[in-house]
Every structure is written in C-alpha cells, then in structure tokens.
C-alpha cells in the first residue's frame, strides 16, 4: 500500500501516537464505592467569633428544597432519615459545647438557630463507546461510579443511557441578631453541606449520614461554643 512508504508511515505513526497520548491517562479512575463519592463542605464567616455563642435552637423538621416551579405534591424526597439527621445535627452542636433551647423565646432568642434542609437532583445522559471499546467517554463524563453503575463494553460500539440521583444535606447556623430587614437577609454564620449519590440501602445511607454530619463538625474546630 502506497501510504506505507517510509515517510508517510512515520508521519501516520507519529500523528496516531500524538493523538492517543494527548488524550491523557487516569489510572486511578473507577472502582469507587458509593461512600467514596460523599463530599463534605463547610463555609463560615471568618469575622464571626463563635466563642461568643452558647445556645442554639432547631426546628423539629427537615426542609425539602424543591425547584421554584415544582408542585409541593411532587416532593419525593424520603423522610425516613429526618429523625436521624436532626438528632445527629443537635448532638454535634451539643458536643461542641452549645446548649439547646427547646422552646425559644422570641424576646430572648438563642444565640444561633440551626436549620436543616435537603435537595436532590436527577442526572441523565448518554455514553457512547468507540469501536476499540477502550478508554474514552464521549459526551458526558461522570467522574465517579459506585458498584453496579458500570455499563458494558459492546464491541460493536454501542452506547448506554444512564441516570442517577444525588442529594445534598445542608445545615445552616444563623445568628438572629445579624438579620437585615430591608434586604430580608438572615445572618448565616456557618454552612455545612453533605453531597453524595443516593442509594437504596437504608443501612448504608444511615451510616453515611452519621459520618458526614460528624465530619462537618470535625473540620470546623472554630465552631466551638464559648464557656
């Protein structure tokens, strides 16, 4: 074949080599469990001195965050773990030295209010495989997969439609003294967020919620209450 003449063959090999090489290699990708996909983030106002706070109050329910145009009847977020979540959030604050006020007095409010909320997101996409059934993901690159999520490698170069649901648990600590009435802004001093893949195992979810809420407090040593 004429294109195998020395010069062209070398050019072909070089171009093929360069194109394969430039698309990179990620050797540690894959093989992750659902727990590995959990992320805990905490954000706080560095100008706040938490040692000035000693008491907190909490509503006895978890707020479900829905899209603005959603029908409340379409709320499919499970309430199976509300009691566990509220208990763990309260326990964490107690462990940091805060005293819970069970019946807050509007004339003498607690130092902080803890609000707990949950949101969920549905994800869907399509992944097509090239004929050599190898490394590439086309059009949609979920960065991590738990067990049971991996589609097959059809040699004919077919594709797979995937969908999954993620959830985020938010804990907001609000100082009622820092509210701004004209802008209707409340003074959030600290936010903890736990994000992960929603799964069907109750035991697994309960463990992950325990671990995640505890991690929120562990990475927030500045949150310790005043004595």
């Amino acid at each position: 074949m004429h294109f195998l003449k020395k010069g062209r063959f070398q050019l072909f090999a070089l171009l093929l080599t360069a194109s394969l090489a430039m698309s990179a290699c990620y050797p540690s990708s894959g093989g992750l469990s659902v727990e590995d996909l959990d992320v805990v983030a905490t954000v706080y106002d560095p100008e706040v001195d938490f040692s000035n706070y000693r008491t907190f109050a909490m509503p006895d329910s978890v707020v479900h965050l829905l899209p603005d145009d959603a029908d409340p009847d379409d709320d499919n977020i499970s309430r199976s773990f509300d009691e566990l979540i509220l208990r763990e959030v309260a326990q964490g604050l107690t462990d940091l030295g805060y005293v819970r006020v069970l019946e807050p007095d509007p004339d003498n409010p607690p130092d902080l209010y803890a609000f707990v909320s949950i949101s969920t997101t549905q994800w869907a996409g399509y992944v097509g495989y090239p004929w050599w059934g190898g490394w590439g993901w086309y059009g949609g690159y979920p960065p991590g997969w738990g067990p049971g999520w991996g589609p097959g490698y059809p040699w004919y170069g077919g594709g797979v439609v995937y969908s999954y649901e993620t959830g985020t648990l938010f804990v907001d600590l609000v100082d009622p003294e820092r509210q701004d009435a004209p802008t209707r802004e409340i003074g959030t001093t600290w936010i903890g967020a736990l994000n992960g893949l929603l799964e069907n195992s109750s035991a697994g979810t309960a463990t992950r919620l325990n671990t995640g809420i505890r991690q929120m407090y562990e990475q927030s040593a500045y949150l310790k209450a005043g004595s």
């Binding site: 430039m22 590995d36 954000v43 979920p142 993620t166 893949l197 990475q219």
Partner: protein, 210 residues
C-alpha cells in the same frame, strides 16, 4: 495501562522507520522508560511517584561531541487521598473533604543540545539542555465532581546521563532529568504553581543504519 503499552510500541515502530530513512545522518535515537517524582509546589498537589513515563528523543550530531535534539515525552502522575482542603473566598473561608484523586498528565515537547564526552561508539557521558513547551492536563476528582484544566506551558529540561555500547550500533541509556514548566493559565487549585519533576530514565538508543 493498555494505552500506555500501545503508545510505547508505536514510538518504537515510528523510530525504527526513522532509523532506516536517516541512514545517511550521524544521529542517535533513544527510547526510555521514565520514573518521575514531583518537586516543589507540584508535590503539594500530587506527591506519589509516577511509574508511567516514556520519552523518545532524536539526536543529530553536528560535531563528534555536540548534537541537536528533539524529544517527545509523556508522564502520568496520580494520587488518591482523603485530605481536607482549606478554601478561601472573598468574604468567607471553608473546608472541603472527601475521597479525592489528583492527576497530572505531562507531555513535554522540547528541542535542544547535548554535549557528549568520549569517543563515538564508546561509553559516553553527556549533558543536555532542552527547551520548548510542556502540555499539561491537570485534573482533580472529589466525590461526584471533577475539575480539569489543560494548557501549554513554556518548559526547560536539563539532563545528565551516559550511553553505554550494547552491540549492533545500540546503546543502553541511563540519565537523570529535571523538567520545569512555568506556571500560566487556569488551574484546578486556587494557587498556581510551576510543574516541576525529576526523572530517572532507563532505555535504549540506536544509531541510524540499525
């Protein structure tokens, strides 16, 4: 890993062809396996030793001791951990934790000079210096989230090594090399840094006419 092996084989095929075509030149082609370790601020991002590295280099001798070089390489760094990362924003600070994996794919494409001591077809120590660009793909995965940035960076690479005759116009190559790509562009981290790493190279070299 399959892709890495395939690429190494392609490199060898390409340069065997090159050797036949350039029989009239006085040159040297080398193919090396590189083990690398990040240094400086790059080591704060990815600290584990990279066992995935390859480089192909062509040397054209202008004189008996001095050669012009052109090289292309690929080095893969990756590290997984559960570190907590501190964040800083305009009006807030924070932390984020979770299972994370950091990747750097580095593709240095450089040209330069080498200076060889000794005589042709004998044991020859050498020093070299190359400059060009290093195409860097930096990626950070945490949980369900992935950040990736890629860019061309100006780069230099000094090298010191030795070639040892191994018969049939071929040589064993052992060398140490330092790659330095200067920071520019966007990063997945809040702080930018130069991509710097040291490598131990072991491989083979052969003359045209093999």
């Amino acid at each position: 890993m399959k892709r890495f092996t395939l690429l190494t084989a392609l490199f060898a095929v390409f340069f065997l062809g090159t050797a036949v075509e350039t029989a009239a030149q006085n040159g040297l082609t080398s193919l090396t396996y590189n083990v690398s370790s990040a240094t400086g601020d790059m080591a704060k991002f990815v600290d584990d030793t990279s066992w995935l590295g390859v480089q192909i280099k062509g040397s054209y001798f202008k004189t008996e001791n001095m050669a012009f070089t052109f090289s292309f390489g690929w080095q893969v760094f990756d590290e997984s951990n559960h570190d907590t990362i501190a964040l800083s924003f305009d009006q807030a600070d924070g932390d984020v934790s979770g299972f994370q994996t950091r990747y750097v794919n580095a593709f240095p494409v450089l040209a330069g000079v080498q200076y060889f001591l000794g005589e042709s077809r004998a044991l020859r120590p050498y020093v070299g210096l190359e400059a060009g660009f290093n195409y860097i793909i930096q990626r950070f995965d945490m949980g369900l989230w992935s950040l990736k940035e890629q860019r061309f960076l100006v780069a230099v690479a000094p090298e010191i090594g030795v070639i040892v005759p191994a018969g049939f116009n071929s040589y064993l190559v052992v060398a140490g090399r330092y790659d330095h790509a200067f920071k520019a562009g966007s990063y997945v981290t809040q702080e930018k840094f130069d991509f710097t790493y040291m490598s131990l190279k072991v491989g083979i070299a052969w003359e045209p006419g093999f």
